[in-house]
Point group: C2
Chain length 411, copies 2
């Protein structure tokens, strides 16, 4: 059974595969208010400076800085108050030498003023006059026009995934519509004569379909649109027909193989039949997930995941997520979220393969995290349900001792 | 201007506020396949063991372990092959002494067998016979019934937010519908005479509404339903009327104040008018976000955020997120995602307040992260657009030096 001719390092395999994914989904224009999580398909430039006018950052008095030179508690500068700056409009007065105006945070500096004295450093003694108790420098407590963004400046490159901050930035620029990548559609097929739909009572030897649903949830979580093609029997022609339909109707096809070696070989044949170049990688130096199959047809990603629910979900997380990014033209990748923790038990691992251990996090008395390994045989989905994240043991290590500082990848 | 009578520590203020949030949203039953990100409103127990039958974890031969005792390459055990275990059905034969059956990964052990020999440790010499080259122990390469989950076992407590793994676990149990907390509705009001809708051309002194949209996006990202109530002028009666309507129609009200002290005081009055106990906290020892207002009415959370877009978004992230969890009865909190990084520049900070600095992450040559501080004045939303996350400088520190190891909270 020469199932694995060559086992790939997980990182090399992923990079090799991603390089072959040349297909990109189309773009579409959507309201910015509905664009959270979408990937920007155009670079965004500011049409105008932000702010568009000199703005006070404090409540106080707009002044000419030179008039406050040497001012102190014992020797205040006395300035004539010529008005109050209205919010949301340009002041209709100027500040001449020896003059000041009441201004609120966010207010527009009147012509002639070049700084703002915080209200805390002033006092009012006589009507129409303010005592300034501290000197300010030119520009102090003022945001200059264009200080956030200059007119014409590129504020976001194409390929950024929009977070709440980006939504706000677009609104600040008046960009209420924005061009983004269409959500990629991912066709998901489950195979195995032993697999039945979740709403079915189990007969001896049967298990319920888990993989269609965990992978669909992951796709949804990462901004894609899952399309389930049901459960296929261990039959080449039936699987090929369903996979072809999925390949025509979606941007990416994921097949979770039946559990046995023979059904995995069937997945290889089906993926090869979908188009060139076909299967690129069959077998990774990783646990769980060694029998993973990476393929490409017509520039679009195809994936054969192990049937075991733990392997399927962990490797979908390793592979489906970057493939979705690739399809949408993501150019700004953000790190995978994680937390630092101390291992609460030993992790054993074989050198020569990367292992990903599920762990549960506990907060220690000093506020740091402890990661308790969850030991398991393959196939036990509830070990992942009870896990807060995964700890990688690198390929060249033979385990990690209790007490070691590790990074727990959250998911 | 006795605006802040007492400044609270951010952590104490948050805990104090959350304790007063006693209201919980109703629950509803939804299809499990659509329940990603929702919060479980019931504990889930297994109705049946998983797996329901002894399952092989490998491809090989089901045997009686005793028959393999002492087997080796030079002295194989010869066993009679009595059949092949079908996938998805109970085998219709038994394994007697000296017998074996071909079995695939995931297949059901036939009666009489108590272990599986991996196919790699067997060879076939004669029709109907297998040579076993290695001994196996009882139970080896077998998952026993109930080894993942026992019948009656609680597999998920109420209050868990459903991730892809939980969706899979529910499906494995045949739970295709599940009771979850309704999505909390969050009413969002922007105030300020200077604030105009994003689609409006700006007049001097005006800025576009950013806060309604960043907070709405954050609420959406965290499983809530944002309801925007528009932009209110700096007018007590208008703001109160809109806030009352929002309070009637939603589960939580967030007001982003106008920028100046006087409009913040107006927010305090409005929040106090909505119900008992009203404002609990006004002013935090935090930057950005000192003027934040925490209030509760009828057990429901109310929040007054500073008008400055950076303060508003950062503090919404600190406060709106745990309040949404609280409203949904989240009992299992997961850590906020972060990455470890080395500071690429100094961070200065005043002792006595917690500061959250935006940083940009760079991957260093050795694969670790460097965090480059983004220095800014308040109000500059694009500093957050360019940030990968925030680095906290604790209250008792006066800054962090370049080269320090920090945790960058991603958002």
């Amino acid at each position: 059974m020469p199932e694995f001719l060559r086992l790939w390092s997980p990182v090399e395999a992923r990079e090799h595969w991603l390089r072959h994914i040349t297909y990109r989904v189309e773009t579409e224009e959507v309201p910015t208010a509905e664009a959270l999580g979408r990937v920007l398909a155009e670079a965004v430039r500011a049409q105008e400076p932000i702010p568009g006018f000199p703005r006070s950052t404090v409540d106080g008095y707009a002044v000419r800085a030179a008039d406050t030179h040497g001012a102190s508690d014992s020797l205040p500068a006395y300035l004539q108050v010529v008005g109050e700056v209205p919010m949301g409009a340009a002041p209709e007065f100027q500040i001449g030498p020896g003059q000041a105006a009441l201004i609120h945070t966010g207010g527009m500096l009147p012509p002639g003023a070049d700084a703002v004295v915080m209200v805390e450093y002033t006092q009012q003694s006589r009507e129409g006059e303010v005592e300034v108790l501290r000197a300010v420098a030119v520009g102090e407590n003022v945001i200059q026009p264009g200080e956030d963004v200059e007119a014409g400046q590129e504020v976001m490159p194409a390929g950024v995934r929009l977070r709440p901050a980006e939504i706000g930035g677009l609104m600040a620029l008046g960009r209420t519509r924005v061009r983004v990548a269409r959500r990629p559609r991912v066709g998901i097929l489950s195979t195995g004569d032993e697999v039945v739909p979740p709403d079915r009572a189990l007969q001896p030897g049967q298990v319920r379909d888990v993989n269609s649903y965990t992978i669909a949830a992951l796709v949804q979580e990462r901004g894609g649109v899952p399309v389930r093609y049901g459960i296929l029997p261990d039959d080449y022609q039936a699987l090929l027909t369903a996979a072809r339909r999925a390949f025509e109707e979606t941007d990416m096809v994921v097949i979770t193989a039946g559990s046995s070696a023979s059904t995995r070989d069937m997945t290889v044949q089906v993926l090869n039949a979908l188009g060139e170049p076909g299967v690129l990688v069959h077998g990774l130096r990783i646990k769980p997930g060694k029998p993973t199959i990476l393929a490409v047809a017509e520039g679009r990603p195809l994936l054969g995941l192990p049937g075991n629910p733990v392997s399927a979900l962990v490797n979908a997380w390793h592979l489906v997520v970057p493939a979705l990014d690739r399809l949408q033209g993501v150019a700004v990748t953000r790190p995978r979220p994680r937390v630092k923790a101390r291992l609460a038990g030993n992790l054993t691992s074989e050198a020569g393969r990367e292992e990903w251990y599920p762990v549960r996090l506990r907060t220690a008395d000093d506020g740091t995290f402890e990661a308790e390994p969850i030991h398991y045989k393959s196939n036990l989905i509830f070990r992942l349900v009870w896990a807060d994240g995964l700890v990688p043991v690198p390929e060249n290590a033979t385990g990690l001792p209790a007490g070691a500082e590790v990074e727990v990848f959250l998911w």
